[in-house]
Symmetry: C2
Subunit: 212 residues, 2 copies
DNA sequence: TTAGTTTCTGAACCATGGTTCAGAGCGAAA
DNA sequence: TTTCGCTCTGAACCATGGTTCAGAAACTAA
């Protein structure tokens, strides 16, 4: 709306796209995909419905962009975190935090992968590919944890699905204006969902222990 | 369809209702709530659309019944399990299994609580009350676990939400004709999601322990 | 000012899908 | 056989909501 200055056409378009995405994402998150109409999104932006179709082909494209943006961000962060030089357990902790923040902080991506089923085949496949890539990053991290002895996971694949479920489900109940803070959620999730080995690796050279 | 014999009218109606619920639940689960129309349900049963409205007021009622049946079952089972005389940790294990089976076995309830947002206020409140009751049973169990020393959970309320997320999310990906069996899912979930105390309570009277 | 391009408008179009309803089978009692 | 409920039918009704489009507004360049 307020982007005078000297900007190329493409830049202005890209900017407006983001603004629309932002509004759409917020509503999708708040009222659910099916229950937010194009007219709702337009009203939230204070414009006419037709304008949305000037920037996006259709509603599905809007949803697809939302999911892509969110997944790209998750992939970027996970790649960075995996590269860090730290025990797998603490990297998993970081990843859990990143994931929860990506889904619940501010206004963003919101419905991570949810709702893939209402996309047409080509788009759906693209999203699923990204999703799979992310899942595999997590599985890899779990396996590294087994290797460095900080994590236990009998079945990394299923464990990751359970982990993602616990995290993704938060979009269903976590309410920023609710009583629980995002920080406390992150803490609890880290404590609960990082499958530390029962007895953390000794920090001293000695193996003696006193059982109070 | 095939219930001749001597049955009172109410009995026949109740039976047919179950049949319809069964078909509806299956489709809701398979294609999602929004993407299954009344006509789809009718077709699956081999009858005309109108018949559905002879047994149920509307689509919403159909959904509400699905959720109620599922939640009632969960509540019944959780009540039984909580009453058992066993460490909280093993009762939690049982509950996890019961929950996963209820959601994914055979054809049943399927979308546990999901989709509450597409119910009108009175119905929604009724479902939410049941859901809350179930959540509180789980929270209670976690607290008992802290008391008897078998479980750890810094924040029982949030932990339960994460746990339920992990379990509920399974309806999004678990596919009975897929490669993973329900049994292996149950096992992995129990191993991952029961927050055992790092060092299980001694089973002997003595407290001496040998490391290595 | 004029011409041309970009951006926006909103009424209208149209498919989808929940819902209704007048009437038809059908079994049981009279 | 007739009557009377109980079941069922499916075409039609109608609201919702995604989408289109002819034109207006805004803005730039000549």
């Amino acid at each position: 709306m307020v982007q005078s200055e000297t900007k190329t056409v493409d830049e202005r378009v890209a900017l407006r796209r983001r603004e629309i995405l932002h509004a759409a994402s917020t509503l999708f998150r708040r009222r659910g995909l099916q229950r937010t109409g194009m007219r709702d999104i337009a009203r939230a932006l204070g414009v006419a419905v037709g304008q949305l179709y000037y920037y996006f082909e259709n509603k599905e494209a809007l949803l697809a962009y939302c999911q892509e943006v969110c997944l790209e961000r998750l992939l970027t962060e996970s790649a960075m975190i995996r590269r860090e030089k730290a025990p797998a357990s603490v990297r998993l902790s970081r990843l859990i935090e990143a994931h929860l923040r990506c889904l619940n902080e501010e206004i963003p991506g919101s419905l991570a992968h949810l709702e893939v089923e209402s996309l047409n085949e080509p788009t759906k496949q693209r999203i699923l590919r990204l999703r799979k890539k992310y899942e595999e990053a997590l599985i890899g991290l779990l396996k590294e944890g087994q290797a460095d002895g900080t994590l236990v996971a009998s079945d990394p694949v299923l464990t990751v699905r359970l982990l993602l479920g616990a995290l993704n489900w938060s979009v269903k109940w976590f309410n920023r204006d609710g009583s629980t803070t995002l920080d406390s959620l992150v803490q609890t999730a880290q404590a609960y969902l990082v499958p530390l080995t029962p007895r953390p690796p000794a920090r001293r050279v000695t193996t003696s222990e006193s059982s109070s």
